[in-house]
């Protein structure tokens, strides 16, 4: 059964139960991927996945139910489940459906079909050749080529009828390198039309990064200046992005309560959220509720300009939505998320940041972010790998050490921001981008 037919069954059942206000959110992701190991295709996957989420607004409460099964019976059950779920809700937040007739910006999307399996196979094999052309690359290295077509539709009882389609493709190269004594690994992905991917450049970056960590020593212990690489800083931003969610603030789960308009970061910090970011693979003109999206400065020169809002949290705060309603999956509750969130670049090079730091560590990558970072208190203690900074220059590699601090203090402690942001490489609506930054006052634990 297709979505249009299913939609009619839902409308009929809703009318029968006198449910006047509802929304149907439909998402279908078709994806194909080919993996190569030892120059042979070892895995091929071809999937069609998605479903429908119904939201019913009954007596001011929004009840949800979702299904992947599109049939007349499941349409009826869906309406009854959503209504039953609405009946136990007690939260006092106002709930809304989006009005039809608003204007939306245009996003640069691709409507091309998913490339043929053979093109994916050739890309994955070429990626594997590119990896093995790098010195030190050994067995265990994997390459994958992937393509995904996403289709979203939002339809509500107020006449809203939005559609979105986009195709993304790319390759994922995982290099394992060895110097005969020890192994190290790193991966790198690239996005774009498969024929135009820079596989050689991506392979070189993956292999170089892995090779640079071979023979790594252990960092010293103590407080010292830390330079975060673009990758490490974007990992940290991604982990703590939830603190800017008005939902978390209103529920007492973010320390940014009552901080709009106040200085929360160093003057060099400007943090922007842009749904139409130039290098984003998934720009989108409407959010998870169907509100128009727009670019906004969350932090401007250290001052918290705005939190991120959806309709419900904006109404509770007496503001307008910022168009940041999210659906992390078709079946999830409407939450809040940024699109491409980026730290505006500064004027110094990474080398100049190292020069300023003099002696400390350059953190290239962070691990265990889901465990070692407390998003409420801001405290973190994270596994890291990177390089020593000695006399202002990048020196020997170090790994298996931790960096500890607090995200809110870190924002204030940013001493300099470099000019080297890296484009996002994940095929998703949310991405984090940052240049290198120099931070004072963090603790390193090594030997």
């Amino acid at each position: 059964m297709d979505f249009q037919t299913f939609r009619q069954f839902v409308a009929d059942e809703a009318a029968k139960l006198h449910i006047e206000e509802y929304e149907l959110y439909y998402q279908l992701e078709e994806s194909t991927s080919v993996s190569v190991f030892r120059h042979e295709v070892n895995r091929f996957s071809d999937s069609g996945e998605g479903g429908v989420c119904l939201r019913c607004l009954i007596n001011g409460k929004m009840g949800y139910a979702s299904t992947q099964l599109l049939s007349e019976e499941s349409a009826r059950a869906l309406v009854r489940r959503a209504a039953d779920n609405a009946s136990v809700l007690e939260s006092s937040e106002p709930e809304f459906l989006v009005e039809a007739g608003q204007s939306y910006q245009t996003a640069a999307v691709s409507t091309s079909p998913i490339p043929a399996a053979d093109v994916l196979r050739k890309t994955a094999l070429a990626g594997q050749d590119a990896l093995y052309a790098q010195s030190g690359v050994v067995d265990g290295s994997r390459t994958e080529a992937f393509a995904e077509h996403i289709h979203i539709a939002i339809h509500n009882s107020r006449g809203l009828d939005l559609r979105y389609e986009n195709t993304v493709s790319g390759a994922f190269l995982a290099a394992v390198v060895s110097n005969g004594e020890e192994k190290a690994n790193s991966f790198k992905s690239c996005l774009g039309a498969l024929e135009q991917l820079d596989l050689a450049g991506t392979a070189k970056e993956a292999a170089d990064t892995a090779r640079a960590t071979l023979g790594a020593g252990i960092a010293p212990t103590g407080a010292m200046p830390v330079v975060f690489s673009p990758k490490a800083m974007s990992q940290l931003l991604g982990t703590y992005a939830g603190v800017f969610s008005a939902e978390n603030v209103q529920k007492g789960l973010s320390l940014l309560k009552d901080k709009e308009g106040e200085t929360i970061a160093a003057p060099s910090v400007t943090l922007v959220d842009d749904p139409f970011y130039k290098d984003s693979a998934m720009p989108i003109p409407f959010d998870g509720e169907g509100s128009p999206t727009r670019c906004k400065k969350v932090i401007e020169n250290g001052v918290l300009n705005t939190l991120l809002y959806n309709l419900s949290t904006a109404a509770a705060a007496g503001k307008a939505t910022t168009g940041n309603a999210s659906k992390s999956s078709y079946d999830s509750k409407v939450g809040i998320r940024p699109f491409t969130m980026y730290l505006e670049k500064g004027e110094l090079t990474q080398e100049q940041l190292l020069e300023k730091a003099q002696n400390g560590v350059l953190i290239d990558s962070l691990g265990g972010l889901h465990a070692g970072a407390n998003t409420i208190s801001g405290d973190f203690s994270l596994q890291s790998s990177g390089f020593l900074i000695e006399k202002g220059k990048k020196a020997a590699p170090v790994r298996s050490f931790t960096v500890a601090g607090n995200f809110f203090s870190l924002l204030r402690g940013i001493a300099a921001v470099a000019d080297d942001p890296q484009p996002p490489t994940s095929p998703s609506f949310t991405a984090f981008v940052s240049p290198s930054v120099l931070v004072e006052g963090l603790t390193i634990a090594g030997k």
Binding site: S91, D379, A445, K447
Partner: protein, 459 residues
């Protein structure tokens, strides 16, 4: 769910280009969760997962195609896609399926869907109010009562046709406490492979109080000092150290491709002789337990390490081909849309003969990691990390003041040689484990252990 006759036709189509193995996996799962914020029902998550995956193997090649269209024609199209992607050519094979039952070693009494939302909310309110009432320092409490009712069907070209129903229930309470302007969190998250009878054994109020106790203790704590020191790791969820440091590196997912610190180490001593580690999917009603895995292989008790010697890996059918080894009943997937691979079930360190008090008394200066948080590992290098949710300094053989913000980092192959004392108080804790085949329920467990030296991240 899907008749044997339809499965036969789907498998025949899947094998039509020469596959030497074909499998149909179908699923119909209800995920339900009631969420409470600040004492009020904030949301109800209610989602039905329904779909199927066809997998075909030819030698060391595997193809999977998935669909949400589980009508016969939808399944046949899915099988056709898989067959075409695997190979060209034609093969005629006849498949005759026979139903097999592997029994149900995890009896369920109260099916969660039979309990009204309001009754679930009442249980959760009990837990959350106990957390709020615990101490005036508790400023926010959130809670979730979730249940999963998963029905799976596995049919294979080897003639297997079997079904299983997997029901799980879990309550999770998080508390936020503020002491002198310092905010910290605490949590308690018990779960089991049972229905709502879980709450006949587990008191919701005790869950709330434990979450609050941890938050209040940690909010009053100073920062953990950094350095290399001996660490005593508490029983229960402390078993996450073995899960991260070694468990993942013993999965065929990495081992089959040479990407593990423990490749080619079978029958060799890889750990201290006090270490015996077991992955057991057959423990009745435990959180990580299964009757059959997601390839239809019955669950097993696998002794991974016995007195320090590596005995087996955890293996699924496809990776087992590359390793020349049979499945250990370890294939798992979050749902039909994930390619199954070898994963853990209930993984724990077996109890030893040391006494808890002797372990603490043996440490002149170190850390007592009473409650662990989550962690992660890079199986290629074995480097792991995890968070300490509740830690105390040990000084002169005595547990002293609480410390917060600690993490433990190291390398799996090193740390299992440094587990040099193992007590006798085995306990398991519940977690969700994430890997390439998605997020699945796993138990981690251990008695109190001593790690003679490890890097503690703090400040």
């Amino acid at each position: 769910m899907i008749s044997k006759e339809i499965c036969e036709r789907v498998l025949q189509k899947a094998s039509s280009t020469g596959a030497d193995y074909a499998e149909l996996f179908a699923e119909n799962t209800l995920n339900h969760a009631v969420n409470l914020v600040g004492g009020k029902v904030d949301s109800v998550h209610d989602s039905q997962i329904a779909g199927a995956a066809v997998r075909v193997f030819l030698g060391l090649r595997s193809v999977m195609a998935t669909t949400v269209d589980t009508t016969e024609s939808g399944l046949l199209r899915c099988a056709q896609r898989a067959a075409e992607a695997l190979a060209e050519g034609k093969a005629e094979i006849s498949i005759s399926l026979r139903e097999r039952l592997f029994g149900d070693i995890h009896p369920i009494r109260i099916v969660p869907a039979s309990v009204a939302n309001a009754d679930k909310a009442a249980l959760l309110k009990d837990a959350c109010s106990a957390a709020s009432e615990y101490d005036a320092a508790v400023v926010q409490v959130t809670g979730t009562l979730l249940d999963v009712d998963r029905r799976i069907l596995v049919a294979t070209s080897e003639g297997l046709w079997t079904q299983d129903r997997q029901i799980r229930t879990r309550m999770m309470v998080s508390a936020v406490a503020e002491v002198n302007g310092e905010t910290q969190t605490g949590g308690c998250r018990p779960g089991a492979r049972t229905g709502m009878e879980l709450f006949e054994k587990v008191d919701p109020r005790a869950i709330g109080r434990e979450a609050a106790r941890q938050a209040v203790t940690m909010a009053g704590a100073g920062y953990c000092p950094a350095g290399v020191m001996p660490v005593a790791i508490g029983n229960g969820f402390g078993g996450v150290i073995f899960h991260e440091a070694c468990g993942h590196s013993l999965e065929a997912t990495g081992v089959a491709y040479g990407n593990s610190q423990f490749c080619d180490k079978l029958d060799q001593k890889i750990a201290h002789e006090k270490v015996t580690a077991i992955d057991d999917g057959t423990i009745p009603n435990d959180w990580g337990s299964i009757n059959i895995d997601d390839e239809g292989t019955p669950a097993r008790r696998n002794v991974l390490i016995e007195k320090g010697v590596l005995k087996t890996y955890m293996i699924d059918k496809f990776n087992g081909r590359r390793m020349g080894m049979a499945s250990t009943g370890s294939a798992r997937r979050q749902d039909f849309s994930f390619v199954p691979t070898s994963r853990m079930t209930n993984t724990f360190l077996a109890p030893g003969s040391d006494k808890e008090e002797d372990i603490i008394a043996s440490i002149e200066y170190g850390l007592y990691a009473k409650e662990m948080g989550g962690g992660s590992v890079n199986p290629v290098t074995g480097e792991f990390n995890f968070a300490v949710n509740e830690g105390y300094i040990i000084r002169g053989g005595k547990v002293c003041e609480p410390v917060r913000g600690a993490s433990l980092v190291g390398k799996g192959s090193d740390v299992i040689q440094k587990i040099d004392m193992v007590s006798d108080n085995l306990l398991c804790g519940q977690g969700m484990c994430g890997s390439s085949s998605g997020s699945i329920p796993t138990n981690v467990g251990q008695p109190l252990i001593r790690v003679s030296s490890i890097t503690v991240g703090g400040r």
